[in-house]
Subunit: 380 residues, 2 copies
């Protein structure tokens, strides 16, 4: 008898059976009428979820492919860009920009910090930048940045704004047009409730114009002008990830049927419940105790306990998969994802498994308090 | 009642139900032990199918992503490379190489020609090239090149050999090591019997060394050194296409259980059957009438008949999906794919639907001859 498995990571996230089954249907041809219909519908639904009038292109790639495209397509080598980071994924922007030979000003805040718009303003005052690269939900720390404020600063100084919304889109409010975000990058395997392998990128007119300037960094597979031209013809430049696109169309339909506002509210409640449970157990939060940080909850590992061991034991003993820290935080924190196809009972499962494992390790925790507190916070 | 659909295109190809169901299982985390086991097994199975001791890396990308990586990772801008093409996909190598600012010598043979090793030798005698880019099965024309002979010429002149085996791998013999192929690029949606969205690339020591030289073209998402380092640690540099990797592991297991030689023999028989049927009907073959060309059979559209209309009618009236010509061949040819999860009865279905449609269009064809001839050729 196989174990009953629980996915509680901030990506991949559980995929609804309806979506899995849609992707298990006999495959269709990507240039035929059936796929075209689904592709166009999916592209339109993406615009609704991104809250934008801009085109949203899809790449058969993981989120990092989308990020790569958002560097190479709008810059020429030597262009000055600013990366404002406070964690692993924010720093990835700097690595990509460096790879393409850009002049990178990296505002590198501590992992776990909330990016400070004043610091961005200071750098922009020193020297203008063509693009500012931001991270909405920093999955490595659980911090959600105030993108509206950061984008306003960048726009004030005439920069293009590119935001990694890979783990935030569909979970918490992302207002592409209202916040003047030129480029928003999303990935399939987070709140969009799909397996990994599909990236979506929204492109403003200004970003599109930048991608058409001569001299920009080379890109072929991830080329925007080719993708945008194909989208105008209701197709893709290269063979798309057919099953993932069909699955995304079903998943976006489910999300829009429920309504984005209701999705956001539910994620906020799940975050509240998770944080209340963690605190009631006697653990210390690492991610901020605020409604905005509703994607992943990070908690400090108890004194003298290796966070990786907690994660490993939860997985091996109870088949509950959470994740530990990355980079400098490895061993020091544990992270529980609660995005996408996820409800309050999943929070209770995660907290209960954590409680059992910590008790087993001899950690002094308040037994039984987490579930009660989580439920109370959820009902508030 | 939905139509019963038949996929007879050279990609995507039908996916076996066992593979579809494996991909529809609850998703697992890409850094967990379960995925690691499947990933390592899949990587090892790829080496068996590629007939190589070289590492084979996987990218969450379509085949074009794999091709892109095989240009950017081993060249610096200005490097002289030769592209030897005779169709749409061969020409794609030249487009990618041009995008990355290489000095491209393009031996551009007519669409439908079989690339001539003597022409390659002539160019290499004029000036050496760092890399020679080849296409094994030119899906746009149905021609399969003699890669062994072409690679021998390239190696004689000290060039790296890179081959697009996207539609050939698993269908017809590909001998990566025995033919000294430095880089072989494959895609999931052809003879490997998966949906699109996963590329596999084998990398020789010499190609690996080239990818580590300073000054090479930028690549981040499709970076080889990062992928190879991760593979050494039994993982991937970025989030993999989890479900496609799991599905590929199942599909490769099926292929290796049957045995590669048996697979090749079956594809050759299917090709023979399809060509015999086409000829018996009274149509003229466009692709060569030879055993090697066992991936896709191309036939000329009858005089005065638009090939696209044949394809469209077969799809709309009988839900049998074949494809037409690309580029300059659009309207002039039709193409029937017979790779992967495909058997003789599928050939009969394709031929019968084609016969019904042509008869309906008033084309004078030999009624009833195609199926009989196809079966006879299959049994030979």
């Amino acid at each position: 008898m196989p174990e009953k498995k629980y996915m509680m990571t901030p990506g991949p996230t559980p995929v609804p059976p309806e979506v899995l089954l849609a992707m298990a249907e006999p495959i269709i041809h990507h240039r035929g009428a059936d796929f075209r219909r689904a592709f166009v519908e999916c592209s339109d639904r993406l615009k609704e979820v991104f809250k934008t009038k801009n085109d949203v292109i899809m790449f058969a790639a993981s989120g990092t492919g989308g990020m790569d495209s958002a560097v190479s397509n709008i810059n020429a080598p030597g262009d000055r860009v600013i990366v404002h980071s406070a964690g692993n994924f924010g720093e990835r922007w700097a690595k990509i920009a460096t790879t393409y030979g850009l002049d990178v000003c990296h505002i590198k805040e501590e992992w776990g910090a909330t990016p400070d718009p004043a610091k961005l303003a200071d750098e922009l005052k020193k020297a203008p930048a063509k693009v500012v690269y931001l991270t909405h939900s920093e999955t490595s720390t659980g911090v959600v940045a105030d993108i509206q404020a950061l984008a306003a600063v960048a726009k004030e100084h005439g920069a293009l704004v590119v935001v990694d919304c890979i783990s935030s889109l569909g979970a918490i409010p992302v207002e592409t047009d209202a916040w003047s975000l030129d480029v928003v990058v999303a990935g399939s395997q987070k709140a969009l409730m799909l397996p990994p392998g599909l990236a979506a990128v929204s492109i403003s007119d200004a970003a599109k114009a930048a991608s058409e300037e001569p001299g920009r960094c080379p890109s072929f597979f991830l080329n925007w002008p080719a993708a945008l031209k194909a989208l105008g013809n209701e197709t893709t430049a290269f063979t798309p990830a057919v099953t993932l696109v069909l699955g995304m169309n079903v998943a976006l339909g489910m999300i829009l049927d429920e309504g984005l506002e209701k999705r956001f509210e539910n994620h906020a409640k799940l975050g509240r419940a998770c944080r209340a449970g963690i605190k009631a157990m006697g653990l210390e939060l690492f991610s901020p105790d605020e409604d905005r940080s509703a994607v992943v909850t990070a908690a400090k590992a108890p004194e003298g306990i290796d966070g990786q061991k907690i994660v490993g034991t939860m997985r091996d003993k109870y088949a509950v998969q959470i994740v530990g820290g990355q980079g400098v935080l490895k061993g020091h924190i544990i992270r529980i994802g609660h995005i996408g196809y996820y409800d309050i009972f999943d929070i209770l499962t995660a907290l209960s498994a954590l409680e059992l494992v910590l008790a087993d390790m001899g950690v002094e925790i308040n037994r039984g308090a987490a579930v009660t507190s989580a439920l109370a916070a959820f009902e508030q």
